[in-house]
């Protein structure tokens, strides 16, 4: 039996942690990692990765960011032509942070906040990153709060430990199945990944 493996391209560290966890759960090996240079970079590389996918399956994850651009439109605009069957381009609604928070119980435990603070449908949160930071402000864990929330007046939207703490959460505590029961966007991604032609 040949090993199921993909080239993974993502925009940032948190997307990388989430994709890695999802692919691990599905028993798919990552043979090469690309990206971590933002959304514009991914978009610029999408057409050539669509070509590369003829020989090696490619999995790319990006954020929708704005409600006006619906995922099918984005996929078409990015691939600039017909999407190769082995080019798996998924768009997280609205951002990968929505998928992280979609494991409501796990994430509430992690921050030590009441679970009802997290909406029952995380796909409708318009600015998930900002919303996640606002949840972290409520955390009773002082150190965690300080690391995720930016300092007053800071130029960055997130604190200095944002990626590492959330990455650690995703790696060790985030449940893909619990999250998929809340986020339709994640649920569809999983269903399509299961059917994805990796041969």
């Amino acid at each position: 039996m040949s090993e199921r493996s993909v080239i993974l391209a993502v925009e940032d560290k948190l997307s990388e942690a989430v994709s890695t966890k999802i692919l691990e759960d599905l028993g798919i090996n990552i043979s090469q990692r690309l990206g971590l240079k933002g959304k514009g970079y991914l978009q610029s590389k999408a057409p050539s990765l669509n070509q590369t996918a003829k020989g090696f399956p490619v999995c790319m994850l990006t954020d929708q960011d704005v409600p006006s651009q619906c995922p099918p439109q984005l996929v078409q605009a990015w691939t600039k032509g017909e999407r190769n069957a082995k080019f798996f381009l998924r768009v997280a609604v609205m951002e990968v942070e929505s998928w992280v928070m979609a494991d409501r119980r796990g994430f509430a435990d992690f921050l030590s906040i009441p679970v009802n603070r997290i909406p029952e449908d995380t796909d409708v949160i318009l600015q998930p990153k900002e919303f996640l930071v606002s949840l972290a402000r409520l955390s009773r864990k002082t150190r965690l709060r300080q690391e995720i929330v930016p300092l007053p007046g800071a130029t960055s939207k997130v604190g200095s430990g944002y990626n590492s703490r959330l990455g650690e959460f995703v790696h060790s505590r985030w449940s893909v199945n619990r999250a998929a029961s809340v986020s339709v966007s994640l649920q569809r991604t999983l269903a399509q990944l299961r059917d994805f032609d990796l041969a």
Binding site: I7, S31, Q32, R33, T52, G55, F56, S164, G167, E168
Partner: protein, 200 residues
């Protein structure tokens, strides 16, 4: 810069030993490069200390205060010293040259020019140059051939060496226009690197 020469005196001796014409010609080329790379540097010359006779390099920096801009090598920045040593090594000799992480202390904009610079300077001499690096900036150059890149992976049985272009996915991505930095560097990341930022 040179092995067993942490304070650079050995390097200065080497500069001193070159015959005068060769030294002048090399230093004038290096001066040309440093004028591009080092803000305010205007002139580079070889001198000997009037009392001790020791060799020195000195540079004139443009400065709003008159006569304030003459500096000796012990006042040069790390980056200036490293670039100077690197250029001298490239100009000197035609035997095998090993350059260990030439990106250290240099601005990324300068580092991104090193691969074409090294390649250009070795072309006439037909010498072999081995460069080790962790630098994305150095490997952004589109012209680097994946067949010339060796990927070194430490394993319990010792270091495994692979030609980058012999790895199927790497070759496909390089042929699709990705740079060696984009494709090969992520493969060198230690698997638990994220743990470092969580250290208590």
């Amino acid at each position: 810069m040179l092995e067993n020469d942490p304070f650079g005196q050995g390097f200065l001796e080497r500069v001193a030993k070159a015959n005068e014409r060769t030294r002048r010609s090399r230093l004038s080329k290096i001066e040309e490069a440093l004028k591009i790379a080092v803000p305010q540097l205007e002139q580079l010359e070889f001198t000997r200390d009037a009392v001790t006779g020791r060799p020195h390099l000195q540079a004139l920096y443009s400065h709003w205060r008159p006569n304030a801009g003459l500096q000796r090598e012990d006042q040069f920045s790390d980056g200036t010293l490293r670039l100077l040593g690197l250029l001298w090594s490239l100009l000197e000799g035609d035997s095998l040259l090993l350059l260990e992480e030439p990106e250290l202390s240099l601005n990324a904009g300068i580092v991104s020019q090193l691969a074409p610079l090294i390649s250009r300077m070795q072309r006439n001499r037909q010498r072999q140059i081995l460069v080790s690096t962790h630098s994305d900036a150095l490997l952004t150059e589109q012209g680097i051939d994946g067949r010339e890149v060796l990927l070194l992976t430490p394993t319990p049985e010792g270091t495994e060496v692979k030609v980058a272009a012999d790895i199927d996915e790497v070759r496909a991505l390089l042929e699709a226009g990705f740079t060696v930095g984009e494709v090969v560097l992520p493969r060198t990341k230690p698997s638990g690197a994220e743990q470092l930022s969580l250290l208590k």
